[in-house]
Symmetry: C2
Subunit: 125 residues, 2 copies
């Protein structure tokens, strides 16, 4: 299961809004480059380059069929993102959730569910 080191990483790949639109589009259906670029105002070549970035990140796969190249979504690399995000779950669970309760409750006792404020330390790590 060796993760091949891709030229572009997922974080980089999804940073661009056009590429996020592409992923959505290809989630519905496999499509040729010309059909895909019909959904955008930019040139076909520009779309093609975005597809290349997505392919380098492993987010899409391409397949030659006759003279056309069809792209389809491969969501697998998004698992890395999911994993990265999961680290921050605890912050939502602790801080934000209790904050929401506090804001919505009007009950000062709820304040106790807050974790103590962190102390600023000079020598961390």
């Amino acid at each position: 299961m060796a993760e091949s080191v891709s030229k572009h990483d997922v974080f980089q790949a999804i940073a661009d809004p056009t590429r996020r639109r592409l992923l959505r589009l290809l989630g519905d259906q496999e499509m040729s480059v010309t059909i895909i670029s019909g959904h955008f105002t930019m040139s076909r070549t520009a779309v093609s380059k975005h597809l290349r970035v997505l392919a380098d990140a492993g987010l899409v796969k391409d397949q030659k069929v006759g003279r056309e190249t069809r792209y389809r979504l491969d969501p697998e690399p998004l698992l890395e993102l999911k994993k990265w995000l999961s680290y921050y779950e605890r912050f939502w669970e602790n801080k934000l959730f209790s904050l929401k309760r506090y804001v919505e409750s009007d009950d000062p006792a709820v304040m106790e569910s807050f974790p103590p404020l962190r102390v600023y330390m000079e020598n961390e790590e």
Copy 2:
């Protein structure tokens, strides 16, 4: 709950590996700019600019304390990412999970759990 339109979006903000390291660092503890930049080889000013990008995306909050500026994580904007990602859950649940079962099972009957291949249509949307 009007989402203020931030100058930088979350996707953009987390695209840079340095900024992802910053988020991790600030998750542990609130810190001053000097202390933070002590964790990086680049200049303090460079780190400061990364912090600015994160702040523009709402991912960190800053607070002036005397002559120093302390930054802390604000994970809330990551919920947008989580929401975006959730769209792709169905793909993992369908395609990948069944693929994994297929690959690992050696049982050709498992093949039936695959959804039919999508037909290429000229006129979508």
